[in-house]
């Protein structure tokens, strides 16, 4: 294996980790506020579909992005109505949202485009272009810096850089703002927040709307940047991998970045070498596909530290009277 292969792997790691990152941060906001979000997968999917179809119709990737965010936020609000307003079971609501997205995207796609549940391929401005970072060419031949800056970090869509920016942003919002403090508190002890005169319902709605926006960007990235158009079930379990990454990261933003990069790299390796020959044994690519889930189970088993979710997660809040 030479340096060029490594560079390629890291480059595609970053590309494949981006949708996971958006979904993972979405889950982070939601779960830190005490709302379990199994529906990340469905929101990614519905956003991928609506951004691809609007981008196709209008020819603008940006309008597509807005449509994707809108669709994802609508799904978030459905989850909110079910789990916050009507105090329903958050897990069941999430499951329903995933199926709703899986069914609806195909039915609507078939009705709009008659191509068996896909959108026509996107070309030109309907996709997010790859950006060239400043000085990337000049630095290309400098060792190490050239490879990292000029090749691994260069030539991605703008959404990849925005995703990376979201990590410190999330950290700052959660740990350095009043809103973030309240958000974290409402996930641990909503009664205390309520006693302080702050609306639990409003905070939780705010959290899931943020989650909707982030999932929307992640979904738009899937269909208008990573791929060129929507195909049936294109989220392919990424919402669940993001959920796994969230547990892996123990609900912390910087660790979430680490976790999604790890899982992104597993996907990149599985794509590059369908059968990974390690000398002693050959790992089939099905093993690499399953590895994120296996690692998460290992984490959950408590072999590597303990993953403790926000304490009030999954519990609808009922005001005392």
């Amino acid at each position: 294996m030479d340096i060029a292969t490594f560079v390629q792997i890291f480059e595609s790691t970053l590309r494949l980790a981006t949708p996971l990152l958006f979904a993972c941060l979405a889950g982070l906001f939601s779960e830190r506020a005490g709302i379990f979000d199994i529906g990340l997968e469905g929101k990614l999917l519905v956003a991928a579909f609506f951004s691809a179809s609007i981008a196709y119709v209008t020819g603008s990737a940006w309008l597509g992005l807005a449509a994707g965010i809108g669709a994802s936020v609508v799904f978030s609000l459905i989850h909110g109505v079910a789990s916050i307003t009507f105090r329903g079971n958050q897990l069941i609501s999430g499951v329903a949202i995933n199926f709703l997205a899986a069914g609806m995207t195909v039915v609507v796609a078939q009705s709009w485009f008659q191509q068996g549940g896909r959108t026509p391929p996107l070309v030109g401005d309907a996709r997010f272009d790859r950006l060239s970072l400043p000085f990337a060419n000049a630095l290309h031949d400098v060792p190490v810096v050239g490879q990292i800056y000029g090749q691994i970090l260069n030539q991605h869509s703008i959404l990849v850089y925005f995703g990376l920016l979201c990590v410190p942003l999330t950290w700052w919002v959660l740990y350095r703002t009043r809103f973030g403090l309240r958000l974290r508190a409402v996930g641990e002890n909503p009664a205390a927040v309520d006693t302080a005169g702050i609306s639990v319902v409003r905070l939780r709605y705010a959290a899931i709307v943020i989650a909707g926006v982030l999932c929307g960007i992640g979904g738009a990235y899937l269909s208008t940047a990573l791929a060129a158009g929507f195909v049936k079930d294109m989220s392919a379990g990424r919402g669940y991998i993001a959920l796994a990454a969230l547990i892996f990261a123990k609900w912390r933003p910087w660790h979430a970045l680490g976790a999604v990069l790890l899982f992104g790299m597993l996907e990149a390796i599985a794509n590059r070498w369908p059968n990974l020959d390690l000398g002693i044994i050959t790992l089939p690519n099905q093993f690499m596909t399953a590895l994120p889930y296996i690692l998460t189970v290992v984490i959950l088993a408590g072999f590597v530290g303990k993953a403790i979710p926000p304490r009030a997660g999954g519990e609808p809040y009922v005001k005392e009277r």
């Binding site: 069941i92 499951v95 949202i97 199926f99 709703l100 069914g103 039915v107 959920l243 099905q286």
Partner: protein, 363 residues
């Protein structure tokens, strides 16, 4: 405080939820430019209008009875087993191994062995998430989701590398011996002189599944273990105080649940294509969630919803042939049923409760 009579709780609330779900589905069909009335007619004739249709409807019903039962038993212990899909996949592995590698003299010995093997495999697949919940307190929903994906990868590997006959390109096992063909409704009903279509795959497993429903009812409401499971589901603290071991209940409930999900494969592998194919479960593990929610997790109560989903599944296939409405339409209906009978239960229940309160005050 009981505000509603029991019949309203078990019948009226799910029915209203169902009506809302169907009305919304009709709107979706209207929105994509099709006629919902005609769609309904097509579904009814396609699934219930002939013994051919019934043969498929009841075949799917059998799947949903078993997965619905699996989810219900776990629900009774307040455990949400999303892993029915994976447990049924691994159950299918058990069926295939038993059918491929043991030369059975007749179908019924093979069926009993296949039921036992699939139950064992399914239970095994549920055991690790159950153990993690009972010992490490990690959430069963997350772990069973993870195990669904691990099962899918494992089956993908086994079918494309290990169990596939060398002469075939198709990622599936060889066809089972014809001796192992399960008697279908055509054969069974023929004995009493009823003429039933030969091609529908509904088979003897339908009666086995119904028997399991009765057995599960007896287990839950007529035995000590069943009482312990329900007590644990109602209040973990009270159950603990009564000396019921939470470890035992979590393990037992999940093992039974996994075993039932596993046995679904006897129907869908041995009774259907008679070989193990990729994606043999076809989402039945998830439909079990909708069935259990509608049936209020009652082993007898799930029979009607299982039949309903059998009808939707077969009707949906017919719909996809006759109109431009894709088969995925039933996934939307399934999602709406889960949403309204599960998560938005309070939305339907509250107005009804107020109504009954008002009626009572007047009386």
């Amino acid at each position: 405080m009981k505000t509603m009579p029991k019949w309203a709780d078990v019948l009226l609330v799910p029915l209203i939820s169902l009506v809302i779900a169907f009305a919304l589905s009709a709107l979706v069909i209207l929105a994509i430019g099709e006629d919902p009335v005609r769609a309904m007619e097509l579904m009814v004739t396609g699934s219930l209008g002939s013994t051919y249709g019934w043969g498929y409807t009841l075949y799917y019903t059998t799947n949903f009875l078993l997965t619905g039962l699996a989810v219900s038993i776990a629900f009774q212990a307040k455990l949400f087993n999303i892993g029915g899909e994976g447990q049924a996949m691994i159950g299918g592995l058990g069926v295939a191994l038993v059918c491929l590698f043991i030369p059975w003299p007749n179908w019924w010995l093979a069926m009993i062995a296949a039921i036992l093997a699939s139950a064992l495999f399914g239970a095994m697949w549920a055991a690790i998430p159950a153990w993690l919940q009972a010992k490490a307190g990690s959430h069963i929903v997350i772990t069973t989701i993870m195990f669904n994906f691990i099962a899918a990868s494992l089956m993908n590997y086994l079918l494309s590398h290990v169990l596939r006959p060398t002469t075939s390109m198709d990622p599936a096992t060889a066809r089972f011996d014809n001796v192992l063909r399960l008697p279908r409704l055509h054969d069974i009903l023929g004995l009493v002189g009823i003429d039933f279509s030969r091609s529908g795959p509904a088979n003897i497993m339908l009666f086995v599944a119904l028997a399991f429903c009765v057995l599960a009812y007896v287990l839950l409401w007529r035995t000590r273990l069943g009482f312990e499971i329900r007590a644990f589901g109602q209040s973990e603290a009270a159950a603990h105080y009564a000396g019921i071991s939470s470890f035992k209940i979590i393990m037992v409930a999940m093992l039974i649940s996994g075993a039932l999900a596993g046995t679904m494969a006897v129907n869908s592998v041995m009774g259907g294509p008679q070989r193990l194919v990729m994606n043999a479960v076809e989402g039945a593990g998830f439909i079990g969630i909708a069935v259990a929610l509608m049936g209020r997790s009652h082993p007898i109560g799930i029979i009607a919803p299982a039949l309903l989903f059998g009808f939707l599944f077969q009707g949906g296939s017919e719909l996809a042939i006759e109109t431009s409405i894709p088969r995925d339409m039933i996934v939307i209906i399934q999602a709406l049923v889960i949403m309204f009978t599960g998560a938005l239960d309070n939305m339907v229940r509250r107005p009804l409760e107020l109504l009954f309160l008002a009626l009572r005050r007047r009386a």
